[in-house]
C-alpha cells in the first residue's frame, strides 16, 4: 500500500512514522527546504535557542512529553505557581501561588465545577459564571487566542476539563530540532 503524506510538520511526520511501522510505502511531500513546519528552532539569535514557532510541551499528560522522555531530551518545567509573576491591576507583581492563596481557584482549574456550555462566546459563558477571578490557565488560554467575545465557550471548556490544563508547561531546553 502506498500512501502520500502531504506536509512534513509534526502531524505529517508522525503519520509517516506510524505508517512505516505498519510497513506501508510512504511518500512524504514538503514544500519547504526543511521539515518541522511551524516548529522552527533558531540558534543565531542568542547563545540559547529560541523557538520561532511552537515552543512548549503543555503538561506531563500529553504524548510529546512521553516522547521527549523516551528520546532522553532535557526538559525544563515551568510550574506556573511560584516561578510565574502576575502583574496585578495596581502594578504590584505577585506569583501565581501568592495570588492563588488569596483568590481561590486561581492556580487550580479543578476548584471550579465548569458548567456545560452551549454554542456561546466565552465572554457570555464567563458572565453566567459570575464575578469570580478566572483561573490562570484560562487567562492563559484567552491570551493564547483572542478576546473571549470571539472564542467558543464549548471548546474552551473542553480544554479546561482536560488533564493537560492542570499543570504548568515544559520546554525542550536544547530546542525542538
Amino acid at each position: 500500500m502506498k500512501t502520500l503524506v502531504i506536509g512534513a510538520g509534526i502531524a505529517g511526520l508522525s503519520a509517516a512514522q506510524e505508517l512505516r511501522k505498519a510497513n506501508h510505502q510512504v511518500i512524504l511531500l514538503e514544500a519547504r527546504n526543511r521539515v518541522g513546519g511551524r516548529i522552527h528552532t533558531d540558534r543565531s539569535f542568542a547563545e540559547v535557542p529560541i523557538e520561532l514557532g511552537a515552543e512548549f510541551i503543555h503538561s506531563s499528560r500529553v504524548p510529546t512529553y512521553s516522547l521527549a522522555q523516551k528520546l532522553g531530551l532535557r526538559t525544563f518545567h515551568y510550574n506556573q505557581r511560584d516561578d510565574t509573576l502576575v502583574r496585578l491591576p495596581d502594578g504590584v507583581l505577585r506569583t501565581v501561588a501568592e495570588v492563588g492563596a488569596q483568590a481561590q481557584g486561581y492556580d487550580n482549574v479543578r476548584l471550579i465545577d465548569w458548567p456545560e456550555a452551549g454554542e456561546e462566546s466565552l465572554e457570555a459563558y464567563l458572565k453566567r459564571l459570575g464575578d469570580r477571578q478566572i483561573p490562570f490557565k484560562l487567562q492563559e488560554y484567552i491570551s493564547d487566542f483572542d478576546h473571549p467575545r470571539y472564542l467558543s465557550a464549548k471548546a474552551a471548556r473542553e480544554y479546561l476539563c482536560d488533564p493537560s490544563a492542570e499543570e504548568g508547561d515544559y520546554r525542550l531546553l536544547d530546542g525542538y530540532d
Binding site: 542568542a46 467558543s152 531546553l173
Partner: protein, 240 residues
C-alpha cells in the same frame, strides 16, 4: 508544493507546482489550516460542503512572537514567566538557560487585537512598543536589550497563519475536518485535533498517528473484502 490533489475510488494523485505527479492509494493531508483556508491546494473533486464550511468557520489566531536578548538577567531569581493581564503585552517568559550564562532571553506572545496592532506597525516600532510594555510591567524603565526580533506566521506562504482558533460556533469544526473521505483522503494537523489538544504540538502529533491508524484500518478492511470494506468504519465494528 502540492497545488492539486485528485482523489477517487481509483486512488489519489498529487500534482506539484514544479510539474511532478505522485500517484498513490491514499493521502494524508497534513497541511496547515491557513493553506487549506486560502485554497492553496485544489481538491478534485472538491471537498464536501460540510468540510469547506468547517474550514471557513474555524478561525486562525493572529499571533506574534517577540524576542529580546539582554546582556544581564532581567527576571528576579527563580522567576521564568511574567503575566501582565490587561497590558499591551500579556505573556512573557524567559529561557531558563539564559541566567546561567549571564544573559536573559525573553519572549513575548501577542495575539488578537494586540497582534494585529503590532503587525500594522513597522517592525522596529513594534519592538520598541513591546520593550516599553516590558519596562512598565517590571517597573524597570531603563531596561535595554542587545538584540530584538519579531516573528509571525501570517505571511509565510507555506503556513498562512499561526494556529487554529475555535471561534464561537466552531466547536465541532475540528472534528469535521478530521473525518476521512471516501477511504482515500485522511486529515492530520493541529486543527484536526480535539478542541482540548488543538493548536499544540501534542495535538498535531497525535492527529498524525490517528490519521495513520485510519489509513491502516481502511486498507485492512478493503483488503479483506468485507461488505463494509469500501465504507468508513462504523462505530461498534471490530477494529483491524
Amino acid at each position: 508544493m502540492v497545488e492539486r490533489l485528485e482523489w477517487g475510488p481509483w486512488g489519489v494523485r498529487a500534482l506539484t507546482t514544479d510539474g511532478r505527479v505522485y500517484p498513490a492509494d491514499r493521502a494524508v493531508v497534513a497541511l496547515p489550516l491557513g493553506v487549506l483556508k486560502a485554497g492553496g491546494v485544489r481538491f478534485v473533486p472538491e471537498l464536501p460542503e460540510e468540510k469547506q464550511q468547517a474550514m471557513q468557520r474555524l478561525g486562525l489566531t493572529d499571533a506574534v512572537k517577540l524576542f529580546f536578548r539582554f546582556d544581564q538577567p532581567v527576571f528576579p531569581p527563580g522567576i521564568v514567566e511574567l503575566y501582565a493581564p490587561g497590558t499591551s503585552l500579556e505573556e512573557w517568559w524567559g529561557n531558563p538557560l539564559g541566567p546561567s550564562r549571564g544573559i536573559e532571553v525573553l519572549t513575548a506572545l501577542a495575539t488578537g487585537e494586540r497582534a494585529r496592532a503590532l503587525l500594522a506597525l513597522p517592525e522596529e516600532r513594534a519592538l520598541r512598543e513591546a520593550l516599553q510594555a516590558l519596562r512598565q510591567a517590571l517597573g524597570q524603565p531603563s531596561l535595554t536589550p542587545s538584540r530584538a526580533r519579531l516573528v509571525h506566521w501570517r505571511d509565510d506562504p507555506y503556513t498562512l497563519g499561526a494556529y487554529s482558533m475555535a471561534r464561537v460556533g466552531a466547536s465541532e469544526a475540528r472534528r469535521v475536518l478530521a473525518e476521512p473521505l471516501g477511504n482515500r483522503l485522511f486529515f492530520a494537523g493541529e486543527h484536526t485535533a480535539p478542541n482540548a489538544w488543538a493548536a499544540t504540538v501534542h495535538g498535531a502529533y497525535a492527529s498524525g498517528r490517528r490519521a495513520a491508524q485510519e489509513v491502516i484500518r481502511s486498507t485492512y478492511l478493503e483488503a479483506t473484502h468485507r461488505p463494509w470494506g469500501l465504507k468508513p468504519p462504523q462505530e461498534g465494528q471490530p477494529a483491524a
